[in-house]
């Protein structure tokens, strides 16, 4: 190994390297742009109202994916995200039914704290029991789902008007849905400081290489619990977003656990841990929703539509794997 080989990465300028490191995400946004262009092509009337519908539709899945992403980056996986969303959703709806418009602010804060605590419970159980994450969180998914039914036996409750308005309508210009702005602001407020903190680094460290993390002085157990707690917080926001879009609480968990996993896999988060971010999964959630929408526009039967979505997911991930392999060999 000679000195030039050692210094080789210096040959590329800084910005180029940033793009190279985020190739997958850049590719996803190009794919998203292409899909949007395709949508306008097959549906010339596709306009601001439709973009608004799209933005509000992806809200719950985006937060489910973000929650899952944080946990998976730290080397875990949480199969109770969907149930956590149902539980926080019904708690929010049940409380808002009594709180009034102003009290709803307190309800939102309370639900955020609740989500964080429930996530932390998942994390503590995983760390203390040493039972695999997938088993613990699968078991907990039944616990949270049952708790949701105890809070609301059937759909009900309500949401404050100002709260629902967060996801309704547009912001400044007609092409910018408010749901999208809410999503970006919430994710930025949580993710950017986290990514820059030592905790954020520790999440990546634990997921990437446990031994090296341990030797670097990262407290493995506490970091994992923190990951699950942040995941719980994001799942809580996901539950709130369900309140935002439906206006009520739904005690039966929706398809957000696996939907979130699909979005993070497509979004470039490695299920082995340590790799990925939130930009990719957000794009992936939009891509999956747009594919569904385009298939409706094309009049493709629902059964085929599901098959096509699955095939697209596998294809993109497979192509990504091949590209990565080629890059490593090169």
């Amino acid at each position: 190994m000679s000195a030039p080989a050692v210094a080789a990465p210096a040959a590329r300028p800084g910005i180029g390297r940033t793009i190279a490191r985020n190739q997958w995400v850049v590719g996803l946004y190009l794919l998203l742009a292409a899909l949007l262009a395709f949508t306008f092509l097959i549906k010339p009337g596709y306009g601001p109202a439709d973009i608004e519908s799209l933005a509000i539709s992806v809200l719950p899945i985006v937060f489910a994916a973000a929650a899952q992403a944080v946990i998976v980056i730290a080397g875990g996986i949480d199969l109770s995200i969907g149930s956590l969303m149902a539980l926080t959703n019904v708690v929010a709806a049940a409380l808002m039914a009594q709180s009034g418009e102003v009290g709803a602010v307190g309800v939102v804060l309370l639900v955020l704290i609740l989500g964080t605590l429930l996530g932390a419970v998942n994390g503590i159980l995983v760390v203390v029991s040493r039972v695999p994450d997938i088993v613990v969180t699968l078991a907990m998914s039944f616990v949270w789902a049952g708790a949701a039914l105890l809070v609301l036996g059937s759909p009900g409750g309500s949401a404050a008007a100002w709260f629902m308005a967060l996801a309704d309508g547009t912001f400044l210009i007609e092409w910018l849905p408010r749901a999208f702005v809410t999503m970006v602001v919430v994710l930025a407020v949580i993710w950017i400081p986290l990514r820059r903190s030592r905790l954020g680094l520790s999440l990546y460290a634990v997921g990437s290489d446990r031994v090296a993390a341990l030797r670097s002085g990262v407290p493995i157990g506490r970091t994992k619990i923190a990951a699950y707690a942040i995941g719980g917080l994001l799942a809580g926001i996901g539950g709130l977003s369900l309140s935002m879009s439906t206006g009520i609480g739904l005690p039966v968990p929706g398809p957000y656990t696996l939907g979130g996993v699909a979005a993070i896999v497509l979004g470039g988060v490695s299920l082995a841990g340590g790799r990925g971010g939130l930009m990719g999964p957000v794009a992936a959630a939009f891509i999956l929703a747009l594919i569904r929408l385009d298939l409706v526009f094309l009049g493709v039967t629902s059964d085929y539509s599901q098959v096509i979505q699955g095939v697209v997911l596998v294809l993109v991930v497979m192509i990504g794997g091949l590209v990565e392999l080629r890059r490593r060999r090169a």
């Binding site: 793009i19 850049v26 292409a34 398809p255 526009f297 629902s302 059964d303």
Partner: protein
């Protein structure tokens, strides 16, 4: 940047593929009708609902295209589906709602876009939407009353419900309670939730029989033939059983020795009736129909029992062993559906090959 090129290529291929595909939804002269069903994919009742909607659209001659979103999801997912149908520019949307309240934001958007909305099977609270449902309260009342009378107003019964929290389950439970109140000497020894899942229901009745509980009659919320099978498997003497008009159960009522029971109709063809109502409304024939939950059109069930000659004839008339045993036999609804049985079984929408 090989990577980027690959993605670009993928996108280009998608566009090319789309160009080759005929635009399936093209509203020329007739109407385009959207249908949103958020669950029960593969369930006979829901499949019949979808097929009846397609058949009615075809039989009407006024519909040129249908856009059906039929997947398992929750209320938030159905909101997305309804919005997709709005974006697709349909003239009317028929929904089997996942929830009474939760769909209102999207249904309001549909109303704002001038789209007619009909909710079938269960109502929605949206004041601009029309509701057309099977009368679930009456379904349970009718069946339970028959059962209690059959037992001479006295005995132990099992209530096998559907999915807790589901509007139809809630309504049926109310009807059951109304019948129970009229028969004070009937005792409900066990109330279980089958989740409308055959395996779950069969296991539950087996457990009850194994526990040695005295059971004189069983009321089911549609998981019926599997309960009869469980009795036979367990070697327990058959007791009066109330079920729905599922093909398998009706066949049992006609052929199983010693089985006394009743089938209450709960036609899946309510989907076709919903399409018919939507067409009426699009044609401007709205007179007599009121939007909102108060205006809900209720389709009353019928009861067919093998305890009477008249009932046996009705059962025999409806039975069709060629049908999937999970399909309900209320294949058409008088005054509401106009398709033939062949059209229903073909399950093709207008323009579908």
């Amino acid at each position: 940047m090989k990577h980027t090129r690959l993605f670009g290529g993928l996108a280009a291929a998608t566009v090319a593929a789309a160009a080759l595909m005929p635009a399936a939804v093209a509203a020329q002269d007739g109407y385009t009708i959207g249908f949103s069903n958020p669950g029960g994919v593969g369930n006979g009742w829901r499949e019949e609902m979808i097929c009846s909607a397609k058949a009615e659209a075809l039989a009407s001659g006024e519909v040129t295209g249908m856009n059906i979103i039929h997947r398992n999801t929750d209320a938030a997912g159905q909101l997305e589906d309804i919005r997709s149908l709005i974006s697709a520019g349909v003239d009317a949307i028929v929904v089997n709602p996942a929830d009474y309240e939760a769909l209102n934001p999207a249904l309001q958007e549909a109303a704002d876009a001038g789209i007619v909305v009909v909710a079938v099977d269960a109502p929605v609270s949206q004041p601009t939407a029309y509701n057309l449902s099977n009368n679930q309260e009456e379904y349970a009342y009718l069946g339970a009353t028959w059962l209690f009378e059959q037992l001479g107003g006295k005995g132990n019964v099992v209530e096998m419900r559907g999915i807790p929290g589901h509007p139809a389950d809630t309504d049926r439970h109310e009807g059951f309670q109304r019948a129970l109140a009229e028969h004070p000497e009937i005792v409900v020894v066990k109330e279980v939730s089958t989740n409308w899942d055959p395996a779950t229901g069969a296991q539950q009745i087996t457990d009850i029989l194994n526990a040695g509980t005295q059971v004189d009659g069983v009321w089911t919320s549609g998981i019926d033939s599997w309960i009869v099978d469980a009795f036979i498997t367990a070697g327990a003497p058959l007791v009066p059983i109330v079920g729905a008009d599922n093909s398998g159960f009706v066949t049992q009522l006609l052929t199983t020795e010693g089985l006394v029971g009743a089938a209450v109709t709960n036609p899946g063809s309510v989907g076709g009736a919903g399409v018919r109502l939507a067409i009426h409304l699009l044609d401007g024939m709205a007179a007599g129909y009121e939007p909102g939950p108060e205006g809900t059109i209720l389709l009353d069930p019928q009861l067919w029992t093998n305890a009477t000659e008249e009932g046996k004839a009705a059962l025999a008339g409806a039975a069709d062993p060629s049908l999937d045993p999970s399909w309900p036999l209320g294949l058409s609804i008088p005054d509401w559906t106009t398709y033939t049985k062949e059209q229903l079984l073909a399950c093709k929408a207008p323009g579908e090959a």
